[in-house]
Symmetry: C2
Subunit: 306 residues, 2 copies
């Protein structure tokens, strides 16, 4: 048995051409090339930008590209194990996922993030802040979870809750919310300067689709545990939330920390689109396997003698 | 489109019969039913206890049971969202994985742990302790990572390093190592009493297989980053490590925190066996979907009006 050929079940960075007819990083960006902002109101939640296939094809594409996503993540991690010749910091990725309830964050985590090796991915779900967290400024609980070198951090909710629910519910005064947009911009620019690729996704569903998904949770006894009566209270504030998202995207979209509005009424499309955004982000790093920092022949001789 | 029927790609707890001819929790246990200890020397690293199929069948079985593992993990998580009628703590699982270098810990994480929803799994890799960690007693860095209610924590290396490498390398005096076995027993008994199912796995490879795997890392440029010259130094202490494992298993195997010796010269078998141990552990909890803690019909009416 040859040990120098690749195992068939190993991830490969080859093949798996894009199934999108243009880069998702352009198609889904919360800003047009001319600089005009794109908010949730400009995007049809049932649309499938850049992908002409149907649900069956979309699911097949998601599965077909799992190995490539896993391979690129491994390359990112491998890169962090050796110092770069130019001393630049090892790159990392921060994926922020924000959405209304039932928009499919959980499915993204399970079906897209779950395609990567859990050893290289740090998933953090931010719940309502604790009493201790509320005593600190809003980024205090966020900072410990930014990605280390070579790692992919995923935020299920994030510091954006502090300008979304906090704005809509009036938990913080208007001038404090204003301050936070600037603080967030500085924070994300700091991350980008230190080598982190920041990718921010708003999963965009319609109020009707949310109603159908909540109804399903109430119909099925095996979904009751996912239902929270408070979710219905939040629905009454739908338009306020859309407006809060519009402002947050407008104020915090940046070249080094772009927002993407991902139509999410079709779960399969949202998953494929987030996978595509990750693929494009990792491909953009143009990573190579790091060189050995030891003498390979010398180590072969030592191993043979061991 | 009916929303009350299950999506085809949703995990199901049905089907997927065991492919083992006896429970892996018996076959692989580091103690015979009569109480006699089973150490690494008693287990052939190339054997495949309980599974009569070959590599192709083993890989197929691993893939076929991914959905069941994911479904049981979801059930564990769901259970933690509602208080038990008898007030008992929500169960959780702690999987400890220990092994010599190249034994396949990474593959277990990727191919078995990666089958579960990353939202419910906390994977922690313990590296050499930092200066700060060394200032504290050895469990200080471990305790923050024990699983919360409904969660599955996985330790890639663990507090057992403190009685393995530390014993072999003489980093701690003999009486201190002695003390630690007792401390570990108390710690794991405490976890078990609080509802955590502790499962401890030693991936057991042969020295020859390790040599072949290290040689592969030296042959392939895309594997060089995984190679560390210090791995060869450790090989010189192979027998001392086997003895340290034997003693650790003997002193810390317990009904509420059992050790399993998993033959690991065949990667596919080791993965299938660890998957089986997790399946049996989760099945043993006999979990059901929790009941709604709200009035379902009332919420349906509220939703319809929203």
């Amino acid at each position: 048995m040859s040990r120098t050929s690749k195992d068939k079940d190993e991830p490969t960075t080859e093949g798996a051409e894009s199934v999108f007819d243009a880069p998702a990083r352009q198609l889904l960006r919360a800003r047009r090339p001319d600089g005009a902002p794109v908010g949730p109101a400009d995007v049809d939640p049932r649309s499938t930008p850049g992908f002409t296939g149907d649900k069956v094809e979309g699911k097949a594409a998601l599965a077909a590209r799992a190995d490539r996503l896993a391979a690129l993540q491994e390359l990112l991690y491998a890169r962090s194990t050796r110092e770069a010749p130019d001393g630049s910091p090892a790159p990392s990725v921060l994926l922020v996922v924000q959405a209304m309830d039932t928009a499919g964050k959980g499915g993204i985590m399970r079906h897209v993030i779950g395609q990567m090796d859990p050893q290289g991915v740090d998933l953090k779900a931010f719940k309502a802040p604790t009493a201790e967290e509320r005593e600190h400024d809003f980024l205090w609980r966020i900072r410990p979870h930014v990605p280390g070198p070579g790692r992919i951090a995923v935020f299920d909710r994030s510091h954006y809750e502090d300008v979304l629910i906090q704005r809509v519910r009036g938990f913080a005064p208007a001038e404090e919310i204003e301050r936070r947009y600037g603080v967030i911009r500085d924070f994300e620019a700091e991350l980008a300067a230190a080598g982190t690729r920041v990718v921010k996704v708003m999963l965009h569903i319609s109020a009707d689709e949310q109603k159908a998904r909540l109804a399903e949770r109430l119909e099925r006894p095996d979904k009751h545990w996912k239902f929270n009566p408070a979710d219905i209270d939040e629905r009454a504030l739908w338009e306020e939330y859309q407006e809060a998202y519009r402002i947050a995207l407008l104020r915090t979209d940046a070249t080094d920390a772009p927002w993407f509005v991902v139509p999410a009424d079709r779960k399969w499309y949202a998953r494929l689109a987030v996978q595509q955004l990750l693929l494009e982000t990792l491909e953009g790093l143009e990573l190579e396997w790091p060189e050995a920092d030891f003498d390979v022949e010398e180590q072969k001789a030592r191993l043979a003698a061991s």
